[in-house]
Symmetry: D2
Subunit: 457 residues, 4 copies
């Protein structure tokens, strides 16, 4: 989980990338970084914190000069050490010159690749899969950057949407199945790239292309060339991008996220328990679907849960005192909205169930007569191997508790999920031909790929 | 504009105050501070930034020990220097011992008081009105803290809701008319105080008292005593607290903020232009009213404006590049929600009009057929002298543009305001006996008070 | 203990003060601050750390504009809280306008003054004597800054060498007896002031005046005026400035510090034990005297003790582990210099004796045959009440141990002190008419002054 | 230029390394880092600044656990980017497990090695020679760490004294000729290592071994093994370590630094101009030799130059204003010491000559009759390729100016250098069999080694 952006052949490239990363900040708040290139020299600045914090003192023209730049916001994964080494862009020196790399996704043949690379005598610095990708870009002095990337895609399995910057060139690459999104569009005399279309929208761009699976796009001053590096499909877009990760005003995989969420809400409205008095959202991701539930059902919408917008990111050390306060530090219930009511609570998904249970409990304490959970996706029953930070199967409540006991386990009067079919309808793929639904269904997106730990699930 | 909190006679007082300040963070993001008292010694920590940032490295038991503490979050007022001296709590050494003070509000006889105090030979350190309050608490070694506060209230005019901490005692005080809110409740063997009830709610407190105008409450280990320092009224509660400033799940001045906003939305629904296709909120403060407009009118609600939750606070230096991007850096339009539609845009108020004009323009660019502004308060036509950061009258768009030209000036097809009566109904004060509406009406809340700059308005 | 500097009526005044403070950094490493004035407005920047650290990001022209400025470096006094409030310059708002103040010294009638000021109803913010001086500068709108200072000197007893900045004027003031030094000289069209002459030397100034006791110098664009505020003496210059505090290349009180230390070394050479093989200095303050001991006696000089120049300032938290390493972390012995030798160890003074004892022990461990302490001042037997950070009498080793037992107590073979007469000769005041020697002799510098705690010594 | 330290098999290893790095801080003030190992897991903390600053908030037991650790202080080399990537320890992941590495020295076949490694398909992250060393440690899963190091030494030419940490083992390695020093000694049940003996002295260690050229020492819980990886000589110890770089109370290459400097001073005393009135040191490195000049010649010693101990490290941005103040900001002259005198000024070496010229000029301005430079080494006429930060030959004053014109060029009345023979005598190697004197003589220490840029000198 993270977001990437790039600008090629435009004025103030690094500052434009900064602005795009601000629009993608929801995709990662742990750290950020930008690399730019000028006259064959690579510049980089990375740090922990929000984009605004990391680049607070940056003089973009002086510190990150040049007309091409790429950037990354990083999502904090539990337990990983906060080593600067793990922040993107990764820099690599090769015989063919320097390369900078930002990567969104997760490789599934990580262990095999790593062993192969180490056996080749390479010494790695981190246990990041991005460093493996970089390691596969070395050698072959006569190869172009695009050719190196295509060679790499022949070896790496899994999700690897990326941007690579080298002197005079930017390449955007997608693995064969494209779990993670990327859009791009012409801008000035060059191009902009971003994980989500909202970042391009900031610059008034209303039309863009979606990177195709199995391709590497190469941009230089001579224009743009597209290379196909694999059979080019089938698409295995991550459906969770629409469920939770992307912003509602973005388009990813050629589909508008907010519209997909409206359809999810509409589907919920058709199947939810009757006689609800009010529907409320678990902020923020549940809000679009909640509104559509209300629009479609005529049931009143209310703000029953208020999120503290200033908490969370810095809420690092879970002390005993903090655990006792629990979710209330981040989320408070407005009893005037729920007391004496049959309440429908709309959330995007249930993973561990811990937060849902606390929320149901808080709403009951505030005097609700009934609490019904309305989830705008199917039950999550498998971990993700392509970059979404879901826990091991044993921590997934829907994997350990039988469906008919789930409401009781969560303390709710009922819990309504979408079916796989409803979700696929919502994202415009009724036959499920283009999306990865592994976390909901266990259907392997690429049957021949090995999944690490799958046997232990 | 700011928020205050206190804890008296309870374990971990300073940490509890920290937690309450986190719940009041919306009231001020420039800086924060807490003072505590133990064995007659005063401890204090203040800094610039969010509560989480200021207290990131604080060991509360060691750095802010004791069973009584008070705290403050500060709102950044344009143009003021970022001097630590201006951060609350203010500390004062007097013959009677040390005092710490947090203050919410603004004195109207600031200049006269300041001259009087300086004539008395005092040397002040800042141009803060809180320092004037502190200066009025000196001398009178035989006076109790409450008596000093009452003497001060005899001299200071304007808004001064405050908490004062001295060895063995906390006092909560309100000026005679109570522009700014404060609630309090027993907790453990002591008491908690906060500007808004949501901060008490964090600790499971569901019942509380509202500080009465013209009183000073004195809390010691011997219990609680209330002193009346003035005629005790009439109330002149700030109606803007309900319109914009307080959080919707709070109660202030004995009225639930969210409920007041629902009533504002309902009033808008009755008077807004017919034939709208969708209503959208200007996030975040417009959201409650928007939902009620939809609930009452049956018109669909949508998320047409998406706010970037990570921007704003650090968006300090308005460079040329930033000005060109303008409001889009903070707010993006979702064209799928507004294109081809007659759109109602709900906002809480219009002050300068700059942002409203930009928002209308963005929505039109995104393809809306019509844009109608629905404002859940009357036009702001006067500055505030009691602590809300409104600009000079010449910058207030509704003061400079005739009502019938306002929509055109804002680029909108229409603009609907609430009437004073509708607003007062919404806050449960139909006769306007208890609220200050000066910014909307110009009615002086206390006719005999001098207002600085009033003659130049 | 601290140092002050000022620049009046010169270009880049604040930056010049910064440069002078760097030259005075030995006088205080805890914090630093500068205030400047332009067009009647006061600017200030203060912080903890070295001058270089505090002003690392300062744009002097923008942040501290104007042609007059004053500054201060602060010495860390044990146990005091690190509150920004305690950093100089102190700012004061008076009826006559703003004042900034830096102060070197310590008031002896602090408690009486404080009570008087608090009884006057003033509320103080700190327990600093500088704030008392500021409090005494209030009121009297028709008084000039110089007149206010003279009124203050009529009330404050003790050491108060200071610089005060107000719009259009800088005043330099000395108490009647001038414990702390200040020199000044014309520069460009204005004037520079500094605690020690070396700060002026940086700007090529080779001739300067010494501020006379009992005077206030007033500098404006109309030139310079000197006011006498008291009988003007007798001088009671702090002899410890020459012994330890000032830098050897400075002149203070019209006497060159290094030359005074040479005379101290020469006196030691006349009285020290015979048959020493080598003399070594306790760095850094013992170095000048050591060289002269060698020059005069012909005994070889060696670097037997090597100080770690990077330690000390940040050596804050004395853990058990740090205590065991002890003085060795800061100071190491070179055994090749001392092994098998009769060693003379030259230090400037003995206060608590703790470090001396450790040093003697280290030198013995390194194989010295004999260790003789040569102290270039008399035994310290009283605390200082005028600004040197000496401990209570009970912690002064020479006050609690009989002279004949002192060497044994320190583990040394002998300890040689200067007599009061030799010290006074060294500073060019053989009759002791101009220096305060209270710490060495207990002779009250001003018999009529009350000394706090004197009765408990 | 840098210093390294390690602790193997001892309690609190990382803290002990911290303490040793503090004693070696003179060897590098730009940055510091420590890596430790526990249960096969590697921990690391690196940062810019002094050891005290980098580890101010470090909890050694928690953040750097384990009984083995290595550390490094880094010297700031002009022009290099301040990338964290360049700070030691370097971490490497190999098939055989993780390795941490600290390195002192400079490889001479850097370019050839780099090309070879990149041709092997490796992707490097920096242009550091330490990363090349790390890259040569990969592969060979059955090889021990010592065997890997020996394989590496077969390929790397130049100076590479290093410490490598892997699970259960620390290796100390020297290249075949040992330009850079390392000493080690048993401590508790394990071992300590440090660039200079003074770091061991802190722990009371008075006897130690010197790492032999061409060896790798391997330390595990089974004890210590020494491996010879090359012909083992001849030694080519850097003579500049004695001239300038090491601390005087250290032993390096089995020779005491201070004693070597005494001999340099004695040699100067025999050849310097007659009739000097006083000798003064350029602090700090000239001090030992100066004292011996005085001891041997009977000429008086004085402190004519006073260094500001707080300047230098943070004196980063050389503005116009700073250039005008020049060396005076760091160094001031005491005119009482030099005025009217024939002054001998002792310095350790002359490289560019810029500072020497400024110093001579300052001393003349202060009234000296004559200024004679006494340099305790021969003229520097070649750059160093083994780790001392000397500039290109064209910037070396003694390489561009004829010997007879050098005094005039420096503004001095005379300049006296040591001969090569005197220097070699001073370091106890009269035949020059064990030291590299390339910078003074141009004699290639290893005739068969290629020196980068040698042809362009």
């Amino acid at each position: 989980m993270c977001r990437i952006a790039g600008a090629c052949g435009v004025d103030n490239a690094s500052n434009i990338v900064r602005r795009m990363l601000q629009q993608l900040q929801h995709g990662g708040q742990e750290g950020a970084g930008i690399a730019s290139e000028q006259d064959g020299k690579m510049f980089v600045h990375r740090g922990f914190g929000l984009v605004d914090e990391v680049f607070r003192d940056t003089n973009f023209g002086r510190d990150l000069p040049g007309r091409s730049a790429i950037g990354h916001v990083r999502y904090a994964t539990t337990g990983e050490s906060r080593r600067t080494d793990n922040l993107h862009p990764f820099l690599g020196e090769t015989l063919g010159g320097p390369i900078a790399l930002v990567h969104n996704g997760n490789l599934t043949n990580f262990q095999a690749l790593r062993t192969q690379i180490l056996k080749g005598g390479h010494v790695l610095r981190t246990d990041s899969d991005t460093e493996l990708i970089m390691a596969l870009l070395g050698n072959g002095p006569s190869l172009t950057l695009a050719e190196r990337l295509m060679r790499m895609y022949g070896q790496a399995e899994g999700a690897a949407t990326l941007l690579a910057l080298a002197p005079g060139i930017i390449c955007a690459g997608s693995d064969a199945h494209q779990w993670r999104p990327l859009v791009w569009a012409p801008y000035q005399n060059g191009f902009l790239f971003a994980s989500e279309s909202r970042a391009l929208g900031l610059f008034g761009i209303k039309a863009w292309e979606t990177l195709r699976p199995g391709t590497v796009i190469e941009m230089t001053q001579n224009g743009i060339k597209t290379h196909a590096h694999a059979a080019g499909g089938p698409c295995r877009h991550c459906v969770f991008e629409h469920v939770y990760f992307a912003m509602p005003d973005s388009r990813v995989f050629n589909e508008h996220v907010g519209t997909a969420r409206l359809r999810m809400g509409a589907a919920l409205a058709r199947r939810m328990p009757p006689n609800l008095d009010v529907v409320i959202a678990v902020p923020q991701s549940g809000l679009v679907a909640t509104q559509e539930v209300s629009n479609e059902s005529g049931i009143r919408i209310g703000i029953g849960l208020v999120r503290n917008p200033y908490m969370g990111r810095t809420f690092i050390s879970p002390t005993q005192e903090a655990r006792e306060l629990g979710v209330r530090v981040k989320l408070s219930v407005d009893d005037t909205v729920v007391a004496g009511k049959r309440v429908g609570v709309v959330d995007d998904s249930i993973v561990r169930g811990t937060t849902s249970r606390q929320i149901v409990s808080l709403i009951r304490e505030a005097g609700a007569l009934e609490v019904h959970l309305l989830i705008s996706s199917p039950p999550v029953v498998h971990p993700c191997y392509w970059g979404i930070d879901t826990p091991h199967r044993k921590h997934l409540i829907a994997a350990r508790v039988a469906p008919e006991k789930l409401a009781a386990e969560l303390g709710a009067d009922s819990v309504t999920f979408l079916t796989e079919g409803e979700l696929l309808d919502a994202v415009g793929d009724p036959q499920g031909e283009r999306h990865c639904t592994y976390c909901f269904t266990g259907k392997k997106p690429v049957p021949t790929h090995y999944l690490p730990g799958e046997e232990n699930e």
